[in-house]
């Protein structure tokens, strides 16, 4: 519907307008010409903002044509060329506007009689559809005058309208719905394209703002019903089906899209770089990615091989390169080592000047390197180098991934502050992408990962209010049916689990294990072992841990291996096998150091110190502990800090020669410092509401106070202990048996 633009231009040339208004109108021309079709209401509004006078003139002109007869439109077109033929006008023949005008005129002159009539009809429809449903509040004055005329001159339209009202009540629901949707019925080519582009963009960048899957599906069906050849709609259909994990429909739409693409065909028969040979290759590749997404690795593999073969046959290096990067992704997903493939891919991508693929490969390499314990500075260097590349090519997506990756790596190394900083950096960074449709690109995987880390970091510090806010945001941003939703689901479950475990509510933690297992099997097993250990079913726990360790060692999951070893050591303690725990712990320590996993290393040291304490060398234990306390206080969770403090206090007490029930010759100075340490620990534990530990702390406090002769404080601590003991009901485990 370009007639309004034409009318606008005509009015612009015909009337005298002030300079600033003219400027604003001039600015409007290009978007109108190239943008999607507007409804009359929108159009008039935009023009009115620039120049009310012109808007009124255009409205009048359109009204004249729409409510008049066919001859009025014909007259309009016949007078149209006159203002543009003059040499001195700004809209000279070869200008953008001039070309557009000539184009329109030519198109108009080519129309057959019936087509002209049809054009006129649709102009009327366009005009009247605006006034049929007037905007609330401002009923245009024109309509009131014209209703008489309507009835006489254009019987058909009015008849239609009456019918519609009459019809709507007994109509079948489906038909009704198609009547009421905002973009109902046939869209013009441009409107359809705009709609598709917009929805696709939203799907990629902020799914929540896109139409709901069902609504979008309906729109697409509608569109395809009117024009089955509209291939892009099939592609959007595919994306939409992926959203709801519908393998059947998405495969169907994908293949349909490529069938259509092939035949809409880039002048057909050539099998080379252009033409449909190319789309064939990408069709196979897309199919591979589809299967990959749904976890059908074998199918994906077959499809990928097919894509590779066809690409090889036609020497399409770019496509091959894409295939290669999918290949290593696939290998990685299958859990096998794909370092060599990735390295090859990076080299080739660099050779063919595909920066995106190259740095994607490097990022993948870094990830693999991190899990395999490559030296940290090399990884960081690699990331830094790729970052330079990203900024150079403005690959904002990769910048985000890179930031998310650094967050994860820092977190893995146990540097929570650095990790926090990187996460904030990503979240506060303004995107390089142009902000379209009022949407910032923020529902990519990178954002999900970073937000999850943020939530976990907050949980570690016991800030559960903030955590629930972050999780809430994640839930809104990544609804449960979407691709990255599993990330926050797992994260949420883990946090809840930890919380329940800390608070000693094992019965609440247990049901979460099943949910965790559904999302991540290894994690689930580990958690199960923890619960079993907590409720003293040691044998079962031990079996699970053994099994888990074997599996983790196979998949090179170092972090989990160390955690399992620590748990095993704890099990040894319970059977007082402190000397048997030692080698396990030392092994864990070696592993952690080798992989630069500082947090796990310090936790292991904590375990070691405890073991030494139990073995009767508290001086040694205190020494070892001093080494670990610093990183723990700097980076670790509140729980760990508390445990470390408690342990330190106990070591100090032991060193001071303090024995329960027996006031020997204790070193009073050391005892006092132990008291301080205990107070600190108590503060940490109460922050987490960890009553069991608090009970221990109070017990020790009471004893210390008594030995120092501070009866009042001693009684107070004893009372606190008593209160907690009553509240907890379960008998306290022997203090000696746990960290």
């Amino acid at each position: 519907m370009c007639s309004h633009a034409v009318a606008l231009l005509y009015e612009m040339t015909a009337s005298k307008i002030t300079l600033p208004e003219r400027r604003r109108l001039n600015k409007l021309i290009l978007p109108l010409q190239q943008g999607p079709d507007l409804t009359l209401g929108q159009f008039l509004k935009t023009v009115e903002e620039c120049c009310p006078q012109t808007a009124y003139a255009v409205k009048l002109r359109l009204h004249e044509m729409a409510d008049g007869e066919l001859k009025d439109m014909e007259y309009f077109f016949s007078t149209l060329p006159t203002p543009f033929t003059a040499f001195d006008t700004e809209a000279y023949k070869t200008s953008v506007v001039g070309l557009f005008m000539r184009h329109m005129l030519l198109a108009y002159n080519k129309l057959s009689f019936s087509q002209v009539y049809k054009l006129y009809k649709s102009l009327q429809h366009y005009y009247h559809s605006h006034y049929a449903k007037p905007m609330d509040g401002q009923v245009p004055a024109l309509v009131a005058d014209d209703s008489e005329m309507d009835l006489t001159s254009i019987e058909d339209t009015v008849g239609d309208r009456v019918d519609k009202e009459e019809l709507d009540t007994p109509l079948h629901e489906s038909e009704l719905r198609s009547d009421n949707t905002p973009s109902r019925g046939p869209l013009s080519q441009k409107q359809a394209e705009y709609f598709l582009a917009r929805q696709a963009y939203l799907l990629k960048n902020d799914e929540n703002k896109a139409l709901k899957p069902a609504a979008l599906q309906e729109e697409l069906n509608n569109m395809l019903k009117f024009n089955p050849d509209f291939a892009e709609a099939h592609y959007l259909n595919y994306l939409n089906s992926m959203r709801v994990q519908d393998i059947f429909l998405s495969a169907h739409s994908l293949l349909h899209y490529f069938d259509r693409l092939i035949l809409s065909g880039n002048d057909g028969k050539s099998n080379g770089d252009e033409g449909y040979g190319r789309s064939l290759r990408y069709a196979a590749l897309n199919l591979a990615s589809l299967h990959c997404r749904f976890g059908h690795y074998q199918q994906a593999d077959l499809a990928l091989q097919e894509a590779i073969r066809i690409a090889q046959e036609s020497n399409d290096h770019v496509c091959l390169q894409h295939c290669l990067s999918w290949l290593y992704t696939l290998e990685q997903m299958k859990g096998s080592d794909s370092t060599v493939l990735t390295e090859d891919s990076v080299k080739m991508a660099a050779h063919f000047c595909l920066p995106y693929l190259a740095s994607l490969g490097i990022q993948s390499l870094v990830q693999q390197g991190a899990t395999q314990g490559k030296t940290a500075h090399k990884l960081m260097d690699a990331l830094k180098d790729t970052d330079i590349l990203h900024w150079k090519h403005s690959l904002s997506e990769l910048i985000e991934i890179s930031l998310a990756q650094t967050t994860s790596i820092w977190r893995m190394y146990g540097k929570s502050t650095m990790s926090l900083q990187q996460a904030q950096l990503l979240l506060n960074m303004s995107s390089l992408e142009p902000v379209n449709f009022g949407v910032q690109q923020n529902n990519t995987e990178a954002f999900a990962v970073v937000l999850c880390h943020l939530a976990e970091l907050h949980a570690e510090q016991g800030l559960y209010g903030a955590v629930s806010e972050i999780i809430q945001h994640l839930k809104e941003q990544f609804p449960p049916h979407t691709q990255h939703a599993k990330l926050w689901m797992l994260c949420d479950l883990k946090i809840q689990f930890e919380r329940h475990m800390n608070e000693g509510k094992y019965h609440l933690a247990e049901p979460l294990v099943t949910a965790i297992t559904a999302l991540n099997q290894l994690e689930g097993l580990y958690r199960k072992a923890q619960v079993l250990k907590a409720v003293n079913r040691s044998t079962e726990a031990y079996h699970i841990l053994q099994q888990l360790q074997a599996r983790c060692e196979k998949t090179k999951c170092t972090e989990m291996v160390i955690r399992v070893m620590l748990s095993t050591a704890e099990l040894h303690w319970e059977s007082s096998g402190f000397s048997t725990a030692l080698p396990v712990l030392l092994q864990a320590l070696a592993l952690a150091r080798q992989h630069h996993l500082q947090s796990l290393a310090s936790e292991t040291i904590l375990h070691l110190a405890f073991t030494q304490l139990m073995l009767g060398v508290p001086e040694q234990a205190l020494n070892v502990l001093h080494e670990a306390v610093e990183p723990i206080l700097a980076h670790r969770a509140v729980m760990d800090k508390g445990c470390a403090m408690l342990l330190a206090a106990r070591c100090q007490m032991a060193v001071a020669g303090f024995k329960p029930n027996r006031q020997g010759q204790a070193d009073l100075r050391l005892a006092a410092s132990a008291l301080d340490t205990l107070n600190e620990a108590a503060a940490y534990f109460s922050q987490l509401n960890c009553k069991e530990r608090l009970r221990d702390v109070h017990y020790l406090q009471a004893q210390l106070h008594r030995s120092l002769g501070q009866i009042l404080e001693s009684n107070k601590s004893a009372m606190l202990f008593r209160l907690l003991d009553q509240e907890l009901q379960s008998p306290a485990p022997p203090v000696s048996m746990r960290l």
């Binding site: 495969a251 035949l263 064939l280 499809a303 097919e306």
Partner: protein, 532 residues
Amino acid sequence: MAMFPGLNVPANSGSDHEMEDAQDLDALTLAKSYFDLKEYDRAAYFLKGCRSQKAYFLYMYSRYLSGEKKKDDETVDSLGPLEKGQVRNEALRELRVELSKKHTAGELDGFTLYLYGVVLRKLDLPKEAVDVFVEGIHALPLHWGAWLELSNLVTNIEMLKSLSLPDCWIKDFFMAHMYTELQMIKEALQKYQNLIEAGFSKSTYIISQIAVAYHNIRDIDQALALFNELREQDPYRIDNMDTFSNLLYVKSMKPELSYLAHNLVEIDKYRVETCCVIGNYYSLRSQHEKAALYFQRALKLNPRCLGAWTLMGHEYMEMKNTSAAIQAYRHAIEVNKRDYRAWYGLGQTYEILKMPFYCLYYYRKAHQLRPNDSRMLVALGESYEKLSQQAEAKKCYWRAYSVGDVEKMALLKLAKLHEQLNESDDAAQCYMLYIQDIFSCGEQLEHAEVSTALRYLGQYYFKNKLYDEASLCAQRCCDYNDAREEGKALLRQISQVRDQIETPSADLFAPLSNNNTPVRRVSPLNLISFTP
């Protein structure tokens, strides 16, 4: 669109109706004449005031047809590509309003109910349409048009069973028709047989339907015989002749096809069926451009003609124009999603483009639609084989054999697969079954590879030291040119080995040489000697 049902159906008795009829007679006759001249608007205009049922039906029907005609005309000069699918019959909504009012008032007779149903169907309201058609059928069971419209809306057997239809003899026709549509050929044939016995033995309609049914289960000879009979009884018939030509095409009966084509052109050359027959004729003569041209013409005559789209796809395939072929097949699927040939054709196209994994999807679709058609299974098997998914391929081939392999290729392929995988026992068994299969079907197939099978079996028996069987196979090998040398070599080897272990073997050859029909011989022996 069903033909105009005619006005000579006896009207309801009752003086009121007769009175009305008499009053409207002039207007009705005038309008009928206009209607016959396809001046629908004019007919409708003169019928506006009439009150009789007949006149009312003609009035509404004219309006409906006028809308349809205008829609068709519109399609020619649309303003843009996206508008192509948007042309609608504008009269439908008005008709629906009026008819639904009358419907609730219970004033509709059988014909107008039929029209109401058609309008509903055109408005994409299938559920309502089914109800109205059933009602219409109850009101006027002998109106075949309503039955036919209903048959288009029934999608599965459960739905068919749930319909409450009047118990009239015409219901049997409908059921038989439905069974054919739903590919339940056995039941359909039974129904038609019953109808013939009940006194419809001379009906050409039934003969043609039976022939089509046979065509659907690929019983080509039966179908051909029936069609020939049909042509004798009804020489100027054009309906169903495209199916006949398909059969002739499959059988490569060039002269017959050419005769048929010439004959049909003489009767009416602007019929879809005629164009299809000519297309088939050119296709058989390997003039694929011309064939495609005629299929295109058929599609111009009726764009919703499913068969033509698929056939055109085949022609483009022959011309190696894969993109056009894909286009044609996709169109066919658009017209009818359940067209297995189009899905199969798409699969073939991608197979030709060397995308075996990609074509799997299409073959699977086709297989879903025709679970018992061996061709799809064999195609699936081949694709799996190309993807080195031998286990899947084996399953497909075996299933293809089990459902009755029409091309007799599945076993051979299965055997070769086993041979590749060094599963010699299984391979031998398959080859043997293959030989039995080939000989039991009697006729000689062109691609038959009996010699390959015999050669392998000979070697297999030889390795397993079953010299009697081995020598038998070797001798049979000598009947085929391509395996003669090997057969002889094997015989020599056998006799050498036998000489070494000094077993007399002369008496074994004696009966063999007397018998010169290989068919009778191979199968019983194999059956006895080899049971794995």
